[in-house]
Symmetry: C2
Subunit: 297 residues, 2 copies
């Protein structure tokens, strides 16, 4: 089964690379430096976990994979913009991303700022393209969902809480609140946008996917904290142990390594249970849940 | 006529303040500091020229002013985000905005970065709200238009060209190219979004408004350069003479003051001519054109 999953995820990753390449403005069109930097920040890397979620949810809902590509690209553009801005000196100040110099190191701070800004616009431009949904009102819902997930009560808000938490001792609840915003809302949006690409919407499936995504989003972060604690910089592709060093609370610092691993397993079960009634139809979402939570153990 | 215009523009500005206040998340909702800073960056200032354009164009097309409010707020949020990011140390490094400390001075760089990011998301969230247009497909066109106007081939791209032009000697054509992107595309979008709020779209009017907006967008920038040359910091509310000091090419440095004023008058005529056939129906757009170009002389 997992070999089959590897083939599938490789296929989706390849589709993504092609779709992202086509979506991003060519580097020879003015302003060249900005377009070059946008491509640098987005292409040629990343596990594309969010895109995999979009495609897996699309599959459970019977959506056309070509439409899922568009939704997945929009989500990956938002994710990429957030990484570019998060790495900047005034934020996490990280020199490495996916094993390469981060965008502001490769170019400069002003370019990185504009790269993030322009990637965000591009994500919404893409989701607004005519005919993505058979119903324009549903497409508006998709845009609304992505905007809320990205904004001050979603990803950007989570990042603000994260910054404010440096040097603070948080409870597990407060840490969860931060991560639900910082990464959870976009992961949830990634899965739901895949579901919304279907021509007909079955409410029960969309609810099951939302529940799944909620748990898997948190699990993703718990595993990230475990990886950050365990891995070295080379395997991680970004500066390892950075969060602990910079005095940021993590699941590992709050719970300890073993209890963090237990929590990840519990979240995995919570993610899988709402999908049980769909059996093999939900196989990609199931496999993805295992993939996300078992990266490290 | 101009007294009447002053009353009208004051009314629109008050509508805007109310609409922006309602749209922005309250400062007592988490993350408080981010929401506080978003409100600081947007409320209580600015001539709201883009909102005036949206409302004036909406009036020529017979659109409901309540719908025009929504479109105008979306445009003003994009404009406000661009000012917050432009003022940051890695960009124009400006300490003053509308006579107050700029956002990163009042808060900090990380907060200012997130303020801009979240304001952009909020603009798209707002335009995606159900029922803004009687036709959902037209609403998708509005979202697409605003996204293109904000992105790498619109405002963010113009800012990239602006940064690259520091210390360069540009021709008038190159300067025009930069401004069409940096401010022109958003001004054009502001007017067109007002037109798109109408229940029925008359193509000829939309074209006339697009032509008008193209000229008035450039005129706006020429006048800005003239003001920047002439005004002192107190009247301008931002650091005066900054562009010339920082070795940025302006219409005044390229053309000289008198020819820059002539160009502004010529652009005013180009803006007015496509509207002539609409007579008094276009009075707000006409008055606004005079207002924009005669701020300084």
């Amino acid at each position: 089964m997992m070999t089959d999953f590897q083939d599938w995820s490789l296929l989706v990753q390849q589709r993504m690379e092609t779709a992202l390449d086509r979506t991003l403005p060519p580097a020879d069109i003015a302003p060249q430096r900005l377009h070059h930097a946008m491509r640098y920040a987005v292409l040629g890397g990343g596990k594309r976990v969010r895109a995999l979620l979009t495609h897996a949810a699309a599959e459970l809902c019977g959506a056309n994979p070509d439409k899922a590509d568009v939704a997945a690209v929009a989500v990956e553009l938002i994710h990429a913009y957030s990484l570019v801005h998060d790495d900047m000196p005034c934020m996490d100040d990280d020199d490495l991303r996916r094993g390469k110099p981060s965008c502001h190191m490769q170019y400069d701070d002003a370019t990185a700022l504009l790269v993030g800004d322009a990637l965000q616009s591009l994500a919404f431009q893409l989701l607004a393209q005519p005919g993505l949904c058979n119903e324009a009102t549903r497409q508006l819902e998709m845009l609304h969902l992505l905007a809320v997930a990205s904004g001050s009560r979603g990803m950007a808000g989570g990042q603000a809480i994260d910054l404010a938490s440096v040097g603070q001792s948080l409870t597990q609840e407060e840490l969860e609140y931060m991560h639900i915003h910082k990464t959870g809302t976009l992961i949830r949006a990634a899965a739901l946008l895949g579901a919304y690409c279907a021509d007909t919407i079955e409410t029960a499936r969309v609810h099951a996917i939302a529940q799944y995504a909620q748990s898997i989003g948190l699990a993703f972060q718990v595993v990230d904290d475990i990886l950050d604690e365990q891995a070295d910089t080379v395997t991680l592709g970004k500066t390892a142990g950075k969060d602990a060093q910079s005095n940021k609370p993590t699941y590992v610092t709050i719970l300890g390594l073993e209890r963090a691993k237990l929590l990840a397993r519990e979240l995995l079960e919570n993610a899988l249970s709402p999908l049980a009634i769909y059996g093999a139809e939900a196989q990609r979402l199931n496999q993805l849940a295992y993939f996300i939570t078992q990266r490290s153990f």
